[in-house]
Amino acid sequence: MSEHTISTKSYYLVFLALMAGTALTTWVAFLDLGWFNTPVALSIAWTKAMLVVLYFMHVRQSTKLTKLVAAAGVFWLLLLLGLTMGDIATRGWLGSPGK
């Protein structure tokens, strides 16, 4: 792992991509895409996050165990959000009392 000999050039490229992503997400936010605005914003944010994690945080060159831990973090977060919204978003479906 410690042999991450990424050239500084790739750091600058990732930096430019992150800046471009910030400009893009700000620009897109002012367009009316209806319900599509949120998925677009989150996709751009996710892409930027992956660039930071893989290149700036060197996960690309990390051990498999470190990769697993990082992925587990995302997994548990999705579990938290998914199960919570599975409850909140579906409460009205059956029209049950005490909604």
């Binding site: 750091y11 914003a41 944010a45 700036f56 470190t66 548990w76 977060l77």
Partner: protein, 222 residues
């Protein structure tokens, strides 16, 4: 990561439980990542809270979100991304034993972090002036004042917790700068720089999600 500074030359101090310096570094990286996962869950609870209330009160959240300053938020996003670049260049400099560059990039990172916090302070000040701080003096035009207060509560807690992480990060980087000046880091031993780098990038990562969620996603609908 402190305690061992005695001005001596540091030759990759290695714990006796490790076979190689590389194994020791992998263990540090793994430990740091496990800490960062707990941080993901820490912020994740707040993101979850935000998601629930945004789902329940979309109109109020959209109206409240319009009171945030996209220009300042965007500027701060750029400042943080620049600081992530200088941080990764600092890590790179320490791996190549370039002490001068390491110190310069650490100081640049600290300065950019300071710029972020300064702009954040200006934004918070605007919120106080506009009575958008949750509490007895909260004022909000429109029918959704109570729900808008929820948005601003989440805004302050999430950006506040993020800013607290920035302050801690700046503290860590200041310690690193002093240690780097004393010649603590070599191409063989630079784990503290690397670990603080992970922490700093993580803080950037949180902001990458906070910026669109708080400032942007309701902009299109007025």
């Amino acid at each position: 990561m402190s305690a061992e500074a005695h001005g001596a030359v540091f030759h990759a101090p290695r714990g006796h439980q490790f076979d190689t310096a590389e194994q020791q570094k992998d263990a540090s990286t793994l430990g740091m990542w496990i800490f960062l996962v707990t941080e993901i869950m820490f912020f994740g609870g707040l993101f979850c809270c935000y998601l629930v209330y945004r789902w329940l009160y979309p109109a109020a959240f959209a109206a409240a979100s319009h009171h945030l300053d996209v220009a300042l938020g965007g500027f701060n996003t750029a400042a943080l991304i620049c600081s992530s670049l200088t941080m990764v260049l600092a890590v790179n400099a320490s791996q190549h034993g370039k002490r001068g560059a390491l110190i310069a990039f650490l100081i640049l990172t600290i300065l950019l972090g300071g710029v972020f916090l300064g702009v954040k302070a200006v934004e918070w000040h605007h919120k106080f002036v506009d009575h958008h701080v949750p509490g007895p003096s909260f004022l909000f035009e429109g029918p959704d004042a109570r729900q808008a207060q929820l948005f601003f509560s989440l805004y302050f807690v999430m950006t506040g917790l993020h800013a607290l992480h920035m302050v801690i990060g700046i503290g860590l980087l200041t310690v690193l700068t002093v240690q780097a000046k004393r010649g603590k880091f070599t191409p063989e031993y630079n784990t503290p720089v690397d670990m603080c780098g992970l922490y700093w990038h993580f803080v950037d990562l949180i902001w990458i999600f906070l910026f669109p969620l708080l400032y942007l996603i309701d902009r299109h609908a007025k």
